[in-house]
């Protein structure tokens, strides 16, 4: 068949298909009157799409002009995009995600979670011991300026001036915690792509830092300001950091031990299976920032009450990750 006859015979089909693509690409609320209803379109779309693919194959084997081939290629590609679109029900299934997928994935990848937990807390423990035995060890990690700033922040003596904040500055700190902490979390994860080295670095460094600062402030006698402040959000924040580190280790392991897959295939599949942990870790850090800005900074509750809340949240975390989502996984 000559190209011109082919074109004139199928022009109407292609034009209709084009309007359908246009209708499907416009959001529902912006549908125009000339568009056919979505029901009609979705009923007839697959058949028409296969026809267009057939026309494209014909146009190629018959060596029709490049312009026609390009047009059909484009039509088929647009059709392909609508045909095989996967809509991830991201916001609608968030309840299911929290009740099942997140804790289930956490348990499924328990080896990596355990590894990153150890990589975070062991250096913290070592550093804590070192600071107790040799208090000046802290200066190997922080310069004297930051140490004295840290001391100033938690000095019980300036409690009257520094600690009580208005709600405005609570919100400022909320913004800061979101920006700072979640960025650290994301970097801890992404660094894992470098054969796990980035995650390893962030986990160990943050562990050392955490051990050094908390022990130093305890030894310096600032317990009544420091520990009540951090106890509330500690469960969210520390667990989230180890989760991000763990997913980073998964990436690194995928790169180091691809098994029967190619290296990038292995990384991709590890990243895919770690994705629920990234979503969950992000939510946890948002929660941590919220608690840290609006609860941890309050001074009216007695220290014992704040410790109870902190302990309660830790227990809640344990129950959540070990009990939820068991029957379906």
């Amino acid at each position: 068949m000559r190209q011109e006859a082919f074109e004139s015979r199928h022009a109407a089909t292609w034009a209709t298909f084009e309007t359908w693509i246009d209708a499907l690409s416009t959001p529902r609320f912006a549908q125009r009157s000339e568009h056919e209803s979505r029901e009609t379109i979705s009923k007839n779309f697959p058949a028409m799409y296969r026809q267009v693919c057939h026309h494209l194959a014909l146009a190629r084997t018959r060596r029709y002009s490049i312009a026609l081939q390009q047009r059909l290629n484009q039509l088929a590609l647009d059709g392909h995009q609508h045909m095989y679109r996967t809509r991830t029900p991201f916001l609608t299934s968030i309840g299911l995600f929290l009740a099942r997928d997140f804790p289930a994935t956490f348990r499924k990848e328990w080896r990596f979670m355990l590894a990153s937990t150890l990589l975070f807390y062991l250096p913290a423990l070592v550093m804590a011991l070192a600071v107790v035995l040799l208090p000046e060890t802290i200066y190997s990690l922080l310069d004297p300026g930051s140490v004295s700033r840290m001391e100033e922040m938690y000095d019980p003596a300036n409690e009257a001036i520094g600690r009580e904040r208005g709600s405005d500055s609570d919100f400022q700190m909320f913004g800061f915690y979101i920006y700072n902490n979640i960025s650290i979390g994301f970097r801890t994860f992404a660094g894992g792509l470098l054969f796990g080295l980035g995650s390893l670095f962030f986990l160990i460094f943050n562990g050392l830092y955490f051990g050094a600062v908390s022990t130093h402030l305890t030894v310096a006698g600032f317990t009544e300001t420091f520990w009540p402040f951090v106890s509330g959000h500690s469960s969210f924040e520390l667990t989230a950091i180890t989760i991000f580190g763990g997913v980073g280790l998964m990436l690194g392991y995928g790169a180091l031990a691809p098994g029967r897959m190619t290296r990038w295939q292995s990384i991709r599949s590890r990243a895919q299976s770690g994705l629920p942990l990234i979503y969950g870790g992000t939510l946890m850090l948002v929660a941590a920032a919220f608690v840290e800005a609006f609860w941890s900074s309050t001074v009216w509750p007695p220290a014992s009450f704040k410790y109870s809340v902190g302990a309660f949240l830790w227990v809640l975390h344990g129950l959540y990750f070990f009990l939820l989502g068991r029957n379906e996984s």
Partner: protein, 227 residues
């Protein structure tokens, strides 16, 4: 076609879809435009939020966070795979299997951006783009996404208005296709270049010139109203 950057996607319908992947230059320019947009909007917003005091600072930090990590993700998901910068350059992101990029793909490729940016000036990302077959940076490789040229309207799909001229010589399908392509492009070439190209065929088709070749093209696609 060997020099082409076309990327082929096999579909269940048994045809291959062809897409030109975008290389380092358009992607860097798109990034630059996006960076400018982010910088300018933050500057303007910081002036307004300054008036709100500490509350303003909080909102400002939230905005930096949002722009830093989710600017690309949200645009790629809700704007057919293109940030404003990519749209300006006519490129967009899609999954490597030709489907629109979703939350998982977009989030992964944009989180791993921090590794691409290492050790500075996106050096890792640039090296990865230059070395990988489909011009993918590390984030693309880990998320299984590609950056391709968004379709442009195809121009000149009809050869010029010249009466069809029957072909005497026997030509292969590829040769016929070349003549039809010439016919479609003839209007976009200047006269001298068109004559020069037509003259290549002189030994094959006796005394052929631009108009005769466009006529042949019209005859080949099927026009039969002979003069």
């Amino acid at each position: 076609m060997l020099l082409d950057t076309a990327y082929n996607i096999g579909t269940p319908e048994g045809v291959e879809l062809r897409l030109p992947v975008a290389g380092l230059a358009p992607r860097s320019l798109a990034w630059l435009i996006d960076a400018l947009i982010k910088f300018l909007s933050l500057t303007v917003l910081s002036i307004i939020l300054e008036l709100l005091g500490d509350l303003g600072t909080g909102i400002y930090l939230l905005l930096i966070f949002g722009l830093l990590w989710f600017y690309n993700v949200l645009f790629e998901i809700f704007n057919h795979g293109a940030t404003p910068g990519k749209r300006a350059l006519g490129i967009r992101v899609m999954n490597a299997n030709g489907t629109p990029v979703g939350w998982s793909g977009s989030l992964l490729r944009n989180l791993i951006r921090v590794v691409d940016a290492l050790p500075g000036c996106y050096a890792f990302g640039c090296i990865a783009v230059l070395l990988s077959r489909q011009f993918q940076r590390l984030g693309d490789l880990a998320a299984g996404t590609i950056v391709v040229y968004a379709p442009r309207q195809t121009v000149g799909s009809k050869p010029g208005d010249v009466p069809p001229v029957p072909l005497k010589a026997h030509l292969s399908l590829d040769e016929q296709q070349a003549i039809v392509s010439f016919g479609e492009r003839a209007n976009f070439l200047n006269a001298e270049r068109a004559e020069e190209l037509a003259a290549i065929l002189d030994p094959m088709l006796d005394g052929v010139d631009r108009n005769a070749l466009v006529g042949h093209a019209n005859w080949l696609i099927g026009e039969r109203k002979l003069p």
